[in-house]
């Protein structure tokens, strides 16, 4: 053999050179990973120390005190985030799922290509621009900032994430599953809801959770929509509403039309203030926010990873 193809080659030498290159390059990748882990641990540990220091029960159940005074909590931000994420989910999830179904049912039409491009675009549009849009189409006509406006822009943030992840997961469902149901005489909608959705359920749910996490961590779009409201407290509205015999719808309307606050918004504001107390609170908010987002994220990712490997088989 040696006299054939490899006559012109000093095999041992070539082998040695190749082995060295291999070891060197593979070594570099390990170093890169190490360097990337450093800031993460740094951030987490730092936030834990700074914020963990401040966190207590009060922090969760009280409204902020006036600036410069001690104590107080971020109940307004927690409730605001909660309300807005719920609004966003209500607005975003049903149409997103339906659109995802459209994409897998008609994968190659002009409309589906357009939807896909629009979704990518929407996902790429900086969240601040979405905020501007919310400001223009809701805040300006309504003439006031509101939780509703915040919720709607968050819905815009969520939409592309849900659509694309749902489409991907539904696409992973073998087309034969769908055909199998249709071949039994099932109508499309039953096929979609009873066979495809359950088959992709975990993946779709994961996508939703990721989008919720994303929405919960967003600040920029809320700047000109929810604005912020140190006194946002649902309890008070409910209390007052019941006392004055208002209808449930009315009460909800009241809540939604108030400017609202959110955790990231609070963090952003507190961080800029000159009062050390507020800065300390900012770290605590950062911790709460991070814990919430990370938990949601990690659960979702774990779920997704499991799901993907299972469907692929």
């Amino acid at each position: 053999m040696q006299e054939g193809l490899f006559a012109q080659v000093n095999l041992p030498k070539v082998y040695r050179r190749r082995r060295l290159t291999n070891n060197f390059m593979l070594g570099l990748t390990g170093i890169a990973l190490f360097l990337a882990i450093v800031p993460l641990i740094w951030i987490i540990v730092y936030v834990l120390i700074k914020g963990g220091h401040y966190i207590n029960l009060d922090f969760f159940i009280h409204l902020p005190r006036p600036m410069g005074t001690q104590g107080g909590g971020v109940l307004h931000a927690i409730e605001g985030s909660f309300i807005m994420v719920i609004i966003a989910s209500i607005f975003a999830i049903p149409p997103a799922l339906l659109a995802a179904f459209y994409l897998v049912t008609y994968p190659n039409t002009l409309l589906s290509d357009t939807v896909r491009f629009s979704t990518d675009l929407l996902a790429g549009v900086p969240s601040i621009v979405i905020g501007l849009f919310g400001y223009a189409v809701i805040v300006v006509p309504q003439k006031h900032y509101s939780a509703l406006a915040g919720g709607v822009v968050l819905a815009l943030i969520m939409l592309p994430v849900v659509i694309r992840s749902a489409e991907e997961m539904l696409k992973l469902v073998p087309s034969e599953l769908r055909e199998g149901a249709l071949a039994l005489g099932a109508p499309e909608w039953k096929t979609a809801l009873k066979v495809m959705l359950p088959a992709a359920a975990e993946g779709v749910l994961t996508g939703i959770m990721l989008s919720v996490a994303r929405a919960a961590g967003e600040t920029a779009p809320l700047l000109f929509t929810a604005l912020g409201n140190d006194n946002f407290e649902i309890g008070r509205f409910i209390h007052y509403g019941i006392a004055s015999h208002q209808s449930v719808i009315n009460i909800i309307g009241q809540i939604l039309s108030q400017p609202a606050d959110a955790l990231p918004l609070t963090l952003w504001k507190y961080a800029q203030q000159p009062y050390p107390e507020r800065v300390k609170q900012a770290w605590a908010v950062a911790l709460v926010l991070m814990l919430f987002v990370l938990t949601l994220n990690i659960t979702a990712r774990v779920w997704l990873a499991k799901r993907k490997s299972r469907i692929r088989r």
């Binding site: 190749r18 082995r19 290159t21 291999n22 390059m25 593979l26 570099l28 990748t29 890169a32 990973l33 990337a36 800031p39 993460l40 951030i43 730092y46 936030v47 149409p95 339906l98 659109a99 459209y102 994409l103 409309l111 939807v115 491009f117 629009s118 990518d120 675009l121 929407l122 549009v125 900086p126 969240s127 601040i128 621009v129 979405i130 501007l132 849009f133 223009a136 189409v137 939409l159 659509i163 109508p187 499309e188 909608w189 979609a192 996490a213 961590g217 600040t219 920029a220 700047l223 000109f224 952003w268 961080a271 900012a282 950062a286 926010l289 991070m290 987002v293 994220n297 990690i298 990712r301």
Partner: protein, 332 residues
């Protein structure tokens, strides 16, 4: 045959209506169609709304608004607005972030997908995921109080003393470094940290999605692991990796809060990366709430338009690149 009879027992009208509605599918299809239309119209609406709201500014300034060659000035008091410095700020921070993040991300992705032993993969993966999930305000906060003073300032000073002294490079690396660290360079480094996990995660998924058979084919030809990665896997995943890079670029250019917190927020400042400045996103975030005049607001919205268009272009370029690469290598 028992069940056949049962099927026929349904009333006539039921079957008739069912047939007319195609057993509910007409409604279903209408819903699917409407939802899809909704998505598209939303995007169009966003674009149109921004376009419309920026009319004032567009009429006032024309193309000069985004031109690099027009003397820049941003003065709300005088209603004079010119966006180039913020556009430059966005571009320079994103490009630096990208240049720094790509080799890192690829290295990490390769390690995670190809080298890490099975037991080490999940925890390492979660760490990368967490890096991506940290809300950007937290990055900003950490940036201001920790990262800028401890890391960015020393490095910036070194740059100012070395590259900054070289004639020709002074424009870009001229010092001095602000003591607070608030600068384009700081923003770029924060962005690097923020987009690394994005690029890493996507590239890693791309690498993992490459059929095992590609690796086996290469190894079976006697290639080493690195040769396999470099000559086979990267080319195979090139379109996906390109996608990841562009996604990272999109993230970087659109990132608002963290950048706003560390870039210093000043107009002007020349071209030096060691100076504070604005990005498009940060100028909107910073000034819109306090926009003093309609023209001011309109100018900020026009910056939004520029951002939107940039996103659109990035997406288009991404698609074209991906198609091109696929066409060349995969033949499809």
């Amino acid at each position: 045959m028992a069940n056949l009879k049962a099927i026929k027992r349904r009333p006539r009208w039921y079957n008739k209506i069912g047939y007319w509605l195609q057993h509910g599918d007409r409604i279903w299809k209408a819903l699917l169609f409407l939802s899809s239309l909704l998505i598209v119209s939303l995007v169009v609406w966003i674009a149109w709304r921004l376009w419309y709201q920026s009319t004032l500014s567009r009429h006032q300034f024309g193309w000069a608004f985004i031109s690099p060659w027009v003397p820049s000035s941003w003065n709300p008091a005088l209603d004079k607005f010119q966006a180039w410095p913020s556009i430059y700020g966005s571009l320079i921070t994103s490009v630096i972030a990208l240049i720094l993040a790509i080799p890192f991300s690829l290295g990490i992705a390769i390690f995670l997908a190809e080298l890490a032993p099975a037991y080490a993969r999940p925890p390492l993966n979660y760490m990368i995921e967490m890096l991506a999930a940290v809300p950007s305000v937290v990055y900003g906060l950490w940036g201001i109080y920790v990262f800028l003073p401890l890391i960015v300032v020393p490095i910036g000073e070194v740059i100012a003393k070395t590259a900054g002294q070289i004639p020709g490079l002074t424009t870009f690396f001229g010092g001095p470094m602000p003591v607070s660290g608030l600068s384009r360079f700081g923003a770029a480094l924060i962005l690097t940290i923020m987009i690394t996990p994005t690029i890493t995660a996507v590239s890693r998924d791309v690498l993992l999605a490459i059929p095992q058979s590609q690796r086996e084919a290469s190894l079976a030809l006697g290639a080493t692991q690195w040769e396999t990665i470099w000559n086979v896997l990267i080319p195979y995943g090139l379109s996906g990796i390109l996608g990841a890079v562009i996604l990272g670029f999109g993230r970087a250019i659109g990132e608002t809060m963290a950048v706003t917190m560390v870039i210093g927020n000043t107009t002007g400042g020349g071209y030096s990366i060691l100076k504070p400045g604005y990005t498009m996103a940060s100028i909107i975030a910073n000034e819109f709430a306090e926009a003093v005049s309609d023209l001011h607001a309109s100018a900020l919205i026009e910056i939004g338009v520029v951002l939107f268009v940039t996103t659109l272009l990035l997406n288009a370029i991404a698609r074209w690149l991906v198609w091109n690469v696929n066409h060349r290598t995969m033949g499809r």
